[in-house]
Symmetry: C2
Subunit: 543 residues, 2 copies
């Protein structure tokens, strides 16, 4: 056994510890633009923390042009190379306006069921697209792929974010993603170890408890992570999950049994272990911000993501090392792994970041547009005939109604006033009526009279939602409209499980369709498949 390295001087120790902390920033340049000021540090604080040695930033929000400037700005506030990461699980456009927004990974999983070769090629293209666009805006670390096996249809938070419902599919597709993305010169992150696919709780809100045996984990949850490690994935993210068979005290994120024994020793992972956001309720409900960081490092994590209080986390980690609770060796291991990860990165693109005419300046390139369209086309499911247009009243208003349900009307990037889900039905005589899943009106949802109703449901498993709409009245409403003979059609954007459960309740000839995607392209494709609008050209995809 090697001798313990000497203790670092106080200032150096503090900077070393800080380099293992990843803080959250808005992708916008100015403080007032922050959408989540509760979580996104103001610029003055970011600047101070980066000057003090904080080593990573997770970004959310802003256009690609803005984020490209933002990563440069943040880099100038630091004297070391930084890790810049983002939750770009569904393409960079999922988080940053102006880049490619791809249909969720489950779309690839569905294709894999009947055409595995095509699905593998699509997963690789998915990784390449994400990595290339990430680098163009200054990100070097993709917090993807989700390696969870979504074998629980009631899962409120993974759902379509997963690449499949069985270990073989998820393993094959995520490995293809990782290999392709990392070949472009960025780091990937397999998450959420040891597997968040069979939970019914949302770890953003509470700590899910899983009673799976080690054998069960080895059969279902672990294979994708084992495969990711074999594919040389640069990092693994821990899940805030209590696996009682492995450690009945601590969630995976804080468990030595899970991180040091299972992940490092048994599975042989030598790369970066990063916690999921420590600010999530599953952690903060039980531990203070400093203690959570120390427990994570003690358990074997290298990087702590979004501690509830970055200063408290740094302070506590310094105290734990000075007090002998964390060894200098443990610190040096994590510093070394961070350094090795940075050395894997390709040099930054030569294109000067201030140049507005790069590949992103005219939108996603042709290949990436075709990728999104291919995924949408090949994952679409439909049944029945086409929608019958509805007549208009004397006031020119359509006499039909389309109930459009989204999670939250106030923050809905896929539903602008000119979104196809509104304009195409309105052109066919269906007045759109919006229903906010977060703040549903108390009023009865059934439109009065005997108007035909086109039901459009945007529901998927989303973090912070607590459920994928399962307490909502869609089954009952569908039955009622069916009994009244008023159900004109059904469109489900998102959850395949909701689609399956509703599909079983409608007549086979009812015009109905499902897309895993919710973006405008998905809306156009789905609604044109039901006979609205007139051509795929309207999907906004052009070569």
């Amino acid at each position: 056994m090697a001798p313990e390295p000497p203790h670092l001087p106080a200032q150096e120790l503090r900077r070393a510890v800080a380099s293992l902390v990843v803080v959250r920033a808005s992708g916008h340049l100015t403080d007032p633009q922050r959408h989540y000021p509760r979580w996104e540090l103001p610029n003055a604080t970011l600047r101070r923390l980066l000057a003090e040695g904080v080593g990573g930033v997770i970004l959310l929000g802003g256009s690609t042009a803005e984020v490209r400037l933002r990563t440069r700005q943040l880099a100038t506030w630091s004297s070391q190379p930084l890790l810049f990461c983002a939750d770009v699980e569904e393409g960079v456009g999922q988080r940053f306006e102006g880049a490619s927004w791809l249909p969720p990974p489950m779309s690839v999983g569905r294709i894999h069921a009947h055409d595995p070769e095509a699905a593998l090629a699509l997963a690789a293209a998915y990784g390449r697209c994400t990595a290339r666009e990430a680098r163009q805006i200054g990100l070097n670390w993709i917090l993807a792929p989700v390696c969870d096996v979504n074998n629980n249809p009631a899962n409120p938070v993974i759902n379509v974010r997963a690449w499949g419902e069985d270990p073989a599919t998820v393993s094959a597709l995520t490995a293809a993603f990782i290999a392709a993305a990392q070949a472009e010169g960025v780091l990937c992150c397999a998450k959420h170890f040891p597997g968040h696919g069979d939970t019914t709780g949302d770890s953003h809100l509470e700590l899910p408890v899983l009673a799976h045996s080690r054998e069960r984990l080895e059969a279902i949850e672990l294979p994708p992570f084992q495969r990711a490690i074999a594919a040389d994935v640069a990092s693994v993210m821990t899940g805030h999950l209590l696996l009682s068979a492995l450690d009945d005290q601590r969630p995976a994120t804080l468990s030595a049994a899970v991180l040091s024994q299972l992940l490092r020793q048994d599975m042989g992972f030598g790369g970066l272990v990063v916690t999921d956001a420590l600010v999530m309720e599953a952690i903060t409900a039980h531990h203070g911000p400093g203690e959570a960081a120390v427990l994570a490092m003690e358990a074997g994590a290298d990087l702590v993501l979004m501690p509830a209080d970055a200063d408290a986390a740094i302070e506590a980690l310094v105290g734990a090392i000075n007090g002998g609770r964390l060894s200098p060796t443990r610190l040096q291991q994590s510093l070394r792994r961070r350094q090795l990860a940075l050395e894997r990165l390709l040099p930054e693109p030569v294109q000067p970041p201030c140049e507005p005419l790069g590949p992103l300046s005219n939108g996603p390139d042709g290949a990436d547009q075709r990728l999104a369209l291919t995924l949408l086309q090949r994952s679409l499911e439909r049944q029945g005939g086409v929608l019958t247009p509805v007549a208009r009243g004397a006031d020119g208003q359509g006499l039909g109604v389309s109930l459009v349900r989204v999670d939250g009307l106030l923050s809905c990037p896929f539903l602008s006033p000119t979104a196809p889900a509104l304009t195409l039905p309105e052109a066919a005589g269906f007045r759109c009526q919006l229903v906010d899943g977060l703040r549903p009106a108390d009023a009865d949802l059934v439109p009065p009279g005997d108007t035909p109703v086109l039901l459009q449901l945007f529901i998927r498993g989303n973090p912070f939602r607590g459920s994928a709409g399962k307490a909502e009245p869609w089954v009952a409403l569908l039955d009622l409209l069916g009994q009244q003979g008023r159900l004109a059609g059904l469109a489900v954007y998102g959850s395949p499980y909701l689609w399956q459960s509703l599909r079983g309740r409608i007549p086979a000839n009812l015009p109905a369709a499902w897309s895993p995607g919710q973006m405008p392209g998905a809306q156009t494709l789905l609604l044109t498949s039901l006979g609205l609008g007139d051509s795929v050209a309207q999907a906004g995809f052009t070569d």
Copy 2:
């Protein structure tokens, strides 16, 4: 009389004509980011038109960082200096995220009634702030100030965009704005000539007809424009208004009697005359895109803004000159005026546009933040006591309701899920229920039971709305809630006229307030004045 200049060669003539056309572009860099693809040209078309000599671009949308790159991008597509303009009537932040979003000009007008000196200083600060931030993102032409005298409370489109309700107030404040803004090196635009303040129709949707005599115009509508000309305003924008006493055939935009006789001859304006957007219904319902441009130039306009079809406009103008309908002299006059306007501009700021660390990168500067706060504080009106917090039910939900009415939930920059208008009432036990003015639910708006109701109305005169909510049920609802003893409070954000009409119907001790502003700062200030939250610090204003 000078001899007619020689005819230009065909290619040169086409480029010359094109330089007088101003086309619309999104402020975003990529096509898929456009929010209004119907009006905002795609990049390929923009690039071609600019290469063919189009001389101006009006921009809307995007963050300041993005627009700064966008103006540079567009400039590289042109071989001549371009006019870059935007409707930044309420600060650059009204249109572009990350800059100062100021309360509407009517807030200054209200202050002028009791403190004219302060109001003049505030109007000058308003102009300086707008001009300085405009230049920082590459704009050189501010389509402000609105010089209309809003003396008609039923005006659906001007309303709080005006600087006042009488000619003296509007004249004094807009002249102060113009002098201060133009001193910063940008061009201003007095609009909408000869005065859109006394209309009840919206020229975006129909052509308003005004029967005012010349004497009446000289008493009410014209003084602000006369004063703007005296203040050396660089440009005047025409209104799509039929002034039957001056020209009973043609709207001002297309009328030689209004533009050449009244504005040029009688009022002595030698600067640039620009049409309001020719794509508006008031014009397109009567004239094709080419003919509208020719009629405007014939009438005396120099620049045509947003023709419904730029190619058709250029084609028709070339044809009109070749066919003798427009004289070469007329063309040369407009080219000369455009050249003189460009020569008035200060050179571009020395700060390289790719530098992310400019004054805007950390948000509006302190002086501009104080300006916004001062305007909000000094224009706030309130009455009655403070709101009584409401108890919570067993589920933790507040037992009160706050009905929050906005024009459109899907496109509401001032109401994010964390907006003070939602979070402050919710913290005091009022569950927020959203009402979409564009797509109101059919259901009865009265919350069931006997819960207390805080009514929050975001209503102002907005283009394309057709009315400032006047067909909506707020008076009746207010009366009903009052009778039931359930009205807890009233907040009006926007129209002072709605506030006046509702204020007359509520008891003097009911907690109620009005702010001309709708942005988060206005929400915090208004609601804290009613006793919610706890401090002005939450307004998001910091020094």
